[in-house]
């Protein structure tokens, strides 16, 4: 067993090491050489302040008493970090935007930069944390006492420890007043302590599993009572513990400090989302084996809360016990240090500063060095908080009440949760609602859990606890309104959260938020929409630049202020002197000050300088509306620009298409002109001949007249065709679909083209088969057949010319093929034949303007069929597709 001297010297050396590390990190950060100080790993390790002496030692104790219950304390934070995307990310973003310094500052800022809510939250945090700090002091003095061979005074030990912690915290926690409350020295030292904790506990665990026992199987085989791992533990208490511990990583002042305030980069959160759960996983891994080893290897009166130390000691492994001691030492000191920093910031910013500002009654620039005052109030707060913890320890020390104080504290700070969630997600949550909720929840917590935990030694006598005040049993603190919960913690959690949430919702709905509250609510709830392109929201205040600079200097220090002001001046285009006192300047200054003294105080100070800081409600409303409009507007612009891009490309496309169509139209008109002028030429010419020529022979004159007649007919046909195309293409044609005999239509068309064929000497090959009734328009179908047939006659020109007409049927599809034995149509021209006025190789069709095939195709498409050109075959082969007539489709 290590001697008392060894323990003391080791502790002092360890503390010296922590000082060096903190100092070194602070120096590096000052020079801007952050290196791994600003990595996600340091951030993750610093989160381990969650694992205090209570969990370090108490976890094993809890495992010995209630089996896996201890795991809930670690699984809760695991859940919160797995869900970082939902809550933590938003908290961190808001805190970075608003320069939040503490959980009290967050709520104060959100609920209208209210001083009162800051005070309430600070008081609650101090009240809930003091016993917790006392608990750390107790476990430290207990662990020291364990190694002491001379009779030590636990109170004395605790006193000196408290002094040492105060010194460290003051040295590294209040070295400077920064615009963003980040303490690289402390965080790095805490990270180191996290490693020590983990190494110590894991070492003890490995020693137990592989040194004392013979592997995991053996250690679990030694378990004294299998009931320890029964399903009993997964009851309401399990759920409550998960809820409280999940809440604690956000609401505990020290956790808020490391997780949110000290966060330098949002991406670190992503790493911590799995790395921190992994850390607590490793911490929990050996808790059960150590507990089993303690229960089986040590006398039954040994305190399970000290198994981590007594198990290695009992096995005669002194150096391991020393390491375990250092682990516990780390757990306790890191908690106290961070809690003291967090609480002192809150006390100083939300209680001392407002009081001082009020008492000074003067402009802050004229009243001494604010900066000095601020550091002094921080340091005094740290000493005060540790003194409180020490006093609490002295008065309750050794009582069993301390054992459960960890969870009591968890529920105490959990009273902030509804207001925090409301702050982040519910714009309707108001200041009055939040204050009422926090106070009511806290009162229920104190009445049902905190005060009864003293077993009648404090405020409530034992008979009141068991019978209720004035004997009213309905008000019994642990059976409120007769509710029977087996566990007081579950009872208190259910009642306090119910009252809390109800108060928040009801009072918020009933109360009227101030304009500043509405503004802040918008900034909080919509933080992800605003951050990208932060619209300048600023109060119009008439302050002189000199005064503002003076104020900044007093709080932020000369150098920082100078840098900030010249920066702003440059952005205003001024190369020397102070910037103009614009709204942006006051707003930036206020945010910077908020980082040091909290939003409420910063707001008050800047407003005080700026003449009357009070802004008219109507102006604030206007600003709030403007903000909403700007957000809305920028969203819309974004959307618009996307739409515009799309439209532009569509327009380009449409333009190209229009160009094409215009060209087609020109070509079409020019074609029409040509087609009309050609017959007109003959008509005019012969008409003039007839008019002027008296010497014409009657025979000649008759011939000329007949030419005129013929050409006039050609003109008429042409005009008909043009009209036909236009009507068909616009879908206005009156085409009916009635049962038509296909054979009759073909016969009709053949009869019409018979003279043409005879003149050209065409041999027709056609065998009429069984008749098919098709769905068509009799006249239109005949027109198509005639068109195709005369086309074949004109272009077929085989030697000797022949035309084959075939009919085939496939279910409801009927095909009529008209093929000639001519030269066929070149592949390039196959689609062109259906274009208007196409005459292949400049050939003019007798009596046709080249509209026959396009018209025919339009007709067939209007009949739900088609006209296509079969690309194969020796000659040109046109295929007319039709539908058979189906009763069911047409009798409607």
């Amino acid at each position: 067993m290590p001697s008392w001297n060894t323990i003391v010297i080791t502790s002092l050396l360890y503390v010296a090491l922590l000082f060096c590390v903190a100092f070194w990190a602070e120096q590096r950060a000052k020079r801007g050489q952050f290196g791994w100080i600003r990595t996600p790993w340091v951030y993750t390790l610093s989160l381990s302040v969650y694992c205090t002496a209570w969990t370090y030692y108490g976890g094993v104790g809890s495992a010995a008493r209630s089996g896996l219950e201890f795991a809930a304390i670690y699984l809760g934070p695991t859940l919160t970090f797995l869900g970082w995307w939902l809550v933590l990310r938003k908290l961190v973003r808001i805190s970075n935007e608003q320069r939040t310094t503490s959980v009290a500052d967050l709520l104060s800022s959100r609920y209208g930069k209210s001083t009162s809510i800051g005070v309430v939250v600070t008081l609650i945090a101090v009240l809930a944390s003091t016993p917790y700090i006392a608990l750390q002091l107790q476990s430290l003095s207990l662990s020291f006492a364990l190694f002491s061979d001379v009779g030590t005074q636990p109170a004395q030990t605790a006193f000196w420890i408290a002094c040492g912690l105060a010194a460290f915290t003051i040295l590294f926690g209040t070295r400077h007043v920064d615009a963003n409350e980040q303490h690289y020295g402390v965080v790095t030292a805490i990270a180191l302590e996290a490693v020590v904790k983990l190494v110590a506990l894991t070492s003890v665990g490995l020693f137990v599993v592989f040194g004392i026992a013979d592997g995991p199987t053996d250690i679990f085989a030694r378990m004294p009572d299998p009931e320890l791992l029964s399903a009993e533990v997964f009851g309401p208490r399990w759920v409550t513990l998960l809820f409280l511990s999940a809440t604690a990583v956000i609401c505990l002042p020290r956790m808020f400090q490391v997780a949110v305030v000290e966060n330098v980069d949002e991406r670190h959160l992503a790493t911590a989302s799995w790395a921190f759960p992994f850390y607590v996983f490793l911490i929990s891994l050996f808790v059960l084996p150590i507990a089993i080893a303690g229960m089986t290897g040590l006398p039954s009166d040994a305190n399970p809360d000290l198994y981590v130390l007594t198990v290695p000691l009992g096995a005669g492994n002194g150096s391991l016990a020393l390491l375990a001691f250092l682990g516990g030492f780390s757990a306790a000191t890191s908690m106290v240090i961070v809690a003291a920093i967090a609480l002192s910031t809150m006390v100083s910013n939300h209680i001392i500063m407002p009081l001082w500002l009020r008492s000074a009654k003067k402009s802050p620039t004229a009243s001494g060095d604010v900066r000095h005052m601020l550091l002094f109030s921080r340091r005094a707060s740290i000493i005060g908080i540790l003194a409180l913890g020490y006093i609490y320890f002295r008065f309750t020390g050794g009582s069993t009440a301390l054992a459960s104080i960890g969870l009591i504290a968890f529920l105490g700070v959990a009273q902030l949760l509804p207001s925090i969630i409301g702050a982040l997600y519910w714009r309707g949550a108001t200041r009055t609602g939040a204050i009422t909720a926090v106070i009511a929840g806290f009162a229920v917590w104190a009445y049902t859990l905190f005060i009864p935990s003293f077993d009648g030694a404090f405020l409530l006598p034992p008979e009141v606890i068991s019978n209720g005040p004035w004997g009213i049993s309905l008000l019994r603190p642990q059976q409120l309104f007769g509710s029977e919960f087996a566990d007081p913690l579950v009872h208190a959690t259910v009642w306090s959260m119910t009252v809390n949430i109800t108060a928040l919702v009801a009072v918020s709905l009933l109360s009227q938020p101030s304009a500043l509250e509405q503004l802040q609510a918008k900034l909080f709830v919509d933080v992800f929409n605003i951050t990208a392109d932060r619209p300048a929201i600023a109060l119009q205040r008439a302050a002189k630049s000199e005064d503002l600079f003076e104020l900044a200097q007093r709080i932020l220090g000369r150098e920082t202020s100078w840098r900030m002001f010249t920066d702003i001046a440059r952005s205003q285009g001024k190369h020397s002197g102070l910037p103009d006192p614009t709204a942006e300047l006051t707003e930036r200054l206020e945010r910077a000050l908020a980082g040091a003294i909290g939003s409420a105080s910063a707001h008050a100070m800047v407003s005080q300088i700026g003449g009357h800081g009070t802004v008219s409600v109507s102006e604030l409303m206007r600003m709030a509306d403007e903000t909403a409009q700007i957000i809305e507007y920028s969203n819309r612009i974004e959307e618009k620009s996307r739409e515009l891009q799309e439209t532009a490309s569509q327009l380009r496309h449409a333009n190209a298409r229009l160009h094409e169509i215009a060209e087609q139209k020109d070509a079409f008109l020019s074609q029409i002109s040509h087609e009309l002028r050609t017959p007109m030429t003959s008509v005019r010419s012969f008409a003039e001949i007839l008019r002027d020529g008296d010497d014409l022979e009657p025979e000649q004159a008759r011939r000329f007249v007949s030419i005129i007649h013929e050409e006039a007919q050609r003109l008429t046909r042409l005009l008909d065709e043009i009209l036909d195309v236009s009507v068909l293409e616009n879908g206005k044609a009156q085409i009916e679909k009635v049962p038509v005999s296909l054979n009759a239509s073909i016969e009709q068309a053949l009869a019409a083209t018979e003279p043409l064929m005879r003149r050209a000497g065409v041999q027709l090959i056609h065998a009429s088969g069984p008749d098919i009734t098709v769905s068509a328009d009799r006249d239109r179908l005949a027109q198509v057949l005639i068109n195709v047939l005369s086309n074949a006659v004109k272009y077929g020109r085989g030697q000797p010319p022949a035309i084959i007409v075939q009919v085939s049927r496939d279910r409801d599809q009927v095909q009529v093929t008209v093929a000639d034995n001519g030269p066929g149509i070149a592949p390039d021209d196959q689609e062109k034949v259906f274009e208007k006025f196409t005459r292949l190789q400049h050939q003019t069709l007798a009596g046709s303007a080249g509209l026959g095939l396009p018209i025919s195709r339009e007709i067939m498409r209007n009949l739900d069929g088609d006209l296509t050109l079969d690309p194969n075959g020796p000659g040109a082969s046109f295929r007319i597709t039709l539908k058979t007539y189906d009763e069911n489709n047409h009798t409607l």
């Binding site: 017959p679 010419s685 003039e688 050939q843």
Partner: protein, 124 residues
């Protein structure tokens, strides 16, 4: 001496009217309905004027004109072009290729006769 005119045109009725008019005015008229055979026909009869349609089967009037202008013996033959399209683009192209006259259909008989006389040198 009788002036010879070659009409290259595929519309039979137009050919008939032109031939009637010009013959009545004393010209010796030959006709051919195909652009591809126009040059060969011109070589054969060496016309004093060629009346050339633009839209011809097989070879367009412009192509015939181009070939004619690069043809040694016939290169200076006066050419009167006829077109039913009447677009400025066609008129420009005809002038560029060396057509002496560009007439739009339908034409006036008197104008055709007057121009034929002028181009064949019968009247100044």
């Amino acid at each position: 001496m009788v002036k010879r005119i070659l009409i290259v045109e595929d519309e039979a009725n137009i050919v008939e009217s032109l031939a009637f008019l010009l013959r009545r005015d004393g010209f010796d008229v030959s006709t051919i309905p195909d652009g591809a055979r126009a040059l060969a026909e011109a070589e054969r009869i060496t016309p004093d004027l060629m009346i050339l349609d633009v839209m011809l089967p097989n070879l367009s009037g412009f192509d015939v004109l181009r070939d004619l202008r690069t043809h040694g013996a016939l290169g200076t033959t006066p050419v009167m072009m006829l077109t039913a399209k009447g677009q400025t683009r066609d008129r420009d192209q005809a002038e560029q290729l060396g057509a002496d006259l560009f007439m739009t259909k339908p034409f006036s008989n008197a104008e055709i006769i007057a121009q034929a006389r002028r181009l064949t040198g019968l009247t100044p």
